[in-house]
Symmetry: C2
């Protein structure tokens, strides 16, 4: 990477723990690839220190922050303004400092949307099924409902209260018709029969139970595109089954890459070097 000088703008990630984050390598390689005078460091911040850490980043003149577990919700109260999509999601994973004013964003859903579009799949105006109602599902479903409204958005969940809140929030804030459905096989089959895009936001299929899939293979077909938020393994059982039908599939790695691309562009105002960043992830995930 380029040597840091006194003109270098500083960005960082706040997490706890943070020692295994790929974000520093990913962003620093990307800054260097674009020849930008930026550096990106990692900070392990305890929850009780988060307000001082964010106030400190402002006082120190950080250009931007990534915010990760367990700080995504609490960080929202530490910034001056929150992007409407992030407000709808209910948490932020990005802070941009413009002349001392901090604005919170959430790039997780935008990362998924960017990955879908890069694969030639635009959710807008189509029928979309989301599996799960946790943090990833919230980020993706709310982003779609606000930024690329599907013709119909069906959310299948196994935690009734969480599902009800998500559906209520999507209905109140989004621009798409939404339905919440209990996640059982019959409901899943019926929902998928009319859908063009399936988004797995559950952890099913993640290492080490890599032969599990949230969807029986018989419900998959060529004209049902599939994104899996799971990125370990890159090619989950769900994606293998979907790809076997000839469907377009989007790996979780592309979603992870997509959220970092959004952050890079918020921090620098420059287009991200996507191929370089993908290579870093492929080498490290």
């Amino acid at each position: 990477m380029t040597t840091i000088t006194a003109q270098t703008r500083v960005c960082g990630i706040l997490g706890h723990p943070v020692g295994h984050s790929l974000s520093p390598v990913l962003h620093n390689v990307a800054f260097a690839a674009r020849g930008l005078p930026f550096a990106y460091v990692a900070h392990d911040v305890r929850p009780e220190d988060l307000p001082a850490a964010i106030a400190g980043a402002r006082a120190l003149g950080y250009r931007g922050l990534s915010v990760t577990i367990p700080h995504k919700v609490a960080a929202m109260a530490c910034v001056d303004e929150v992007d409407p999509t992030a407000r709808g999601i209910g948490c932020i994973n990005t802070v941009v400092n413009t002349k001392g004013r901090l604005r919170g964003h959430n790039s997780d859903g935008l990362g998924a949307l960017g990955a879908l579009r890069a694969a030639g799949v635009d959710p807008a105006g189509h029928r979309v099924v989301v599996l799960g109602s946790g943090g990833a599902a919230r980020a993706i479903a709310m982003t779609l409902a606000l930024e690329a409204p599907p013709a119909k958005l069906s959310v299948l969940g196994v935690v009734p209260e969480e599902l009800a809140i998500l559906v209520s929030d999507l209905t109140a804030r989004g621009r798409a018709p939404v339905e919440g459905l209990a996640f059982d096989e019959a409901t899943l089959g019926a929902a998928l029969a009319g859908a063009e895009l399936l988004l797995n936001c559950t952890p099913v299929g993640m290492h080490p139970k890599t032969d599990a899939s949230p969807v029986p293979a018989r419900y998959l077909r060529r004209n049902l595109s599939v994104l899996d938020a799971v990125y370990n393994p890159r090619r989950t059982q769900l994606l293998k089954d979907a790809a076997a039908t000839g469907a377009t599939v989007v790996e979780g790695l592309e979603m992870f890459l997509g959220q970092a691309v959004v952050q890079f562009e918020l921090f620098t105002g420059e287009p991200a070097p996507v191929e370089v960043m993908r290579q870093v992830l492929e080498a490290n995930l």
Copy 2:
């Protein structure tokens, strides 16, 4: 330099302005030369933001800070404890964070002391003349009085109140006999006649008035070693005149280098790569 990862420990400099500081390049090159997982960034911090910046550096888990103009005095109130020499000097230029506890140090005088010793000149037990009573004079005189007490320490100044305070502080805290003298040519000549070491802590001789010297050449001699805190130009008129007598001379660059060496070792606990750091300064000053 080495790519920053999530394990990289972060250090930084706080100043205002800070855009021309050489410290980031100096320390980053030194970290890389030692293969240490450290990075050093620069932060332009307004005076009103200093407390939040230092509290933030603690919350963010910074390993260390350099502190420069205009923050050296105010920073002392923002740390948990202050090294006795720094307390005597009255300001800090270094903060070390050990498990959330911040300790302030002042490496300016130690840098000068290290540079003298590296040149084979030990002030301890010898007669020393200091020219000036400002910040550099305070740092060097107090450090000598505490850490390498001269047989006699004569301080010549042109600002009577400032000189009186310095002499009073040195007398109260130090371990050397101290005298304060009005800086005129007769006094200077008399003081130098009995001295073995002369330390110029005035700006006389600094660019652009490079043919000025605080000491007429006739007072210089082979057995009067000379350190000049001025580092632009590296070889001041004073040092040229002293070197012409065969005296040992120590350039301001070595003092600047010395304070960075002290900081490096406080931050990392490892011996500094002095030659590598000297080359960076020579290439950039």
